[in-house]
Amino acid sequence: MDSIVSFIQILSIVAIPLLVLFIVSYGAIKKVKIYEVFIEGAKEGFNVGVRIIPYLVAMLVAIGVFRTGGAMDILTTILSPVTNLIGMPAEALPMAIMRPLSGSGALGVMSEIIKAHGADSLIGRMVSVMMGSGETTFYVLAVYFGSVSITRTRHAVPAGIIADIASILMSVWVVNLLFK
């Protein structure tokens, strides 16, 4: 297990430089005017960044209002009876709700829980798995759709939320199965 981990860690360090090297030299071998073509493609970069701004501001401010106004805490309280049914400790619920909304928020919740209960407690393991297996769904939605100016997102949002719920349920189930 450890050798797999260190292999992947090394891979994640060398992957990007090697990929850059590979793309550039492959282009050169195929007689592409690499510098000119790079510049031509790169020109769009600034526009993409700027195009995302309104989408991300809209999304993050709505999430910010929901978090800071205390609505998040109330939602946690309302949902807490459900957690027992699926075998989730009530303390892990804020993590489950925060994960798709805010990456930094979820990281904060995870650190707090690990500090309070220990990294090797059942709940500590559970929030670690939730953090690792989840994704900041609403950020990804805003950025990806924003970059091509899409406002009518059709079924992407419900499908994304269902996948998030699946990931949380699986995290709870697997951790209970392996570590309880």
Binding site: V65, M170, V174
Partner: protein, 328 residues
């Protein structure tokens, strides 16, 4: 869909803040104007107690006093560092520097005072003096609408700034990858990569031609995500979105392929969640990497569920209609 989610978040967020604030005011949660008995110990001997004179000190409050006021149990007396600035011989402004020992109600109040968030403002009235110790009465500056204050200062102003910073921060790496991807396209590399996983991708994205550059970019994005290369994954994903948008007949509306791609992205298979492992290691876990297996299982299942859901939902009439209505 996003319209409703957006409205719900904002509406519930602000209405909750208002009702919590009104409840706090009606129950006098922050004990506005109450006098708190405390002892102030001034580090330097005081020479003059005149207007504007500033001193560093520590303030000590009995734990029974805290219990009586806020109904919070502390294990020992509360001692906090503070700055005081004299108004006249017997009164001074006090700025209490909050730390990890401070009662959480003080932290809420300091946020409501609209200033730094880590400093609690108040006034002290001097009573008795013995050596460097002074008996004082502390009155914390009144706060109203603590929640609405933090909605304004954090929820709105700070998050809006964060959103712009994130977008701007993406420009550099975005520019780099768009340039590199152009080289990869011109040299035929992207099309080649697209060919490798043809049997799977053609099923996942039936509306995208098998050798289209979008396929190559999507495969590269998904691989980068699996390896946890966030720096490359997002730019590659955005590049894929641009390519997919070239196939979009009605701009502004998401195509089936885009929705599928998005869901694969938000539920992505993760081999190595580096941040989580780092935090676990730093918190003294005996085996920080033991969560890898569960993470791989959970992400794989959620990706499968996501893809099945997105395929089923795309057949629903309401979502079909949006696509067809708009393409007239």
């Amino acid at each position: 869909m996003l319209n409703y989610i957006w409205l719900t978040l904002i509406l519930i967020g602000i209405l909750t803040a208002i009702s919590l604030d009104l409840y706090d005011v009606s129950t006098d949660r922050y004990q506005t104007g109450k006098k708190i008995s405390a002892t102030v110990i001034i580090n330097n001997p005081i020479i003059i107690r005149e207007r504007g004179e500033k001193y560093l000190c520590s303030i000590r409050i009995n734990k029974q006093e805290i219990k009586k006021l806020y109904n919070v149990n502390l294990t020992e007396d509360l001692i906090q560092q503070a700055d005081i600035t004299f108004i006249d011989n017997n009164t001074a402004y006090i700025e209490i520097k909050l730390d990890s020992n401070s009662p959480s109600i003080w932290k809420e109040q300091s946020k409501g005072q609209q200033k730094d968030g880590n400093i609690l403002h108040g006034k002290i009235y001097f009573e008795k003096e013995s050596d460097k110790n002074f008996n004082v009465q502390l009155i914390v500056d009144p706060v109203k609408f603590v929640r609405l204050n933090s909605v304004t200062n954090e929820g709105i102003v700070k998050y809006a700034r964060t959103a712009v910073e994130l977008s701007i921060g993406l420009i550099g790496i975005m520019t780099l990858w768009l340039g590199l991807m152009k080289i990869a396209e011109a040299s035929g590399l992207v099309q080649k990569i697209a060919g490798w996983l043809k049997p799977i991708t053609v099923k996942l994205f039936p509306d995208v031609p098998a050798d289209h550059p979008a396929m190559g970019a999507m495969i590269m994005n998904i691989s980068a995500n699996i390896l946890g290369l966030a720096n490359a994954a997002t730019p590659l994903g955005l590049k894929a979105m641009q390519e997919l948008n070239k196939l979009n007949k009605k701009l502004g509306t998401a195509t089936d392929a885009m929705c599928t791609f998005l869901v694969i992205n938000t539920s992505n298979v993760q081999l190595i969640p580096a941040t989580v492992i780092a935090i676990r290691a730093a918190s003294g876990s005996a085996n920080p990497t033991e969560i890898l297996g569960p993470v791989i299982v959970a992400t794989t299942v959620s990706t499968i569920v996501g893809v099945i859901t997105v395929k089923l939902l795309s057949k629903l009439k309401i979502f079909r209609k949006q696509l067809e209505e708009n393409s007239k």
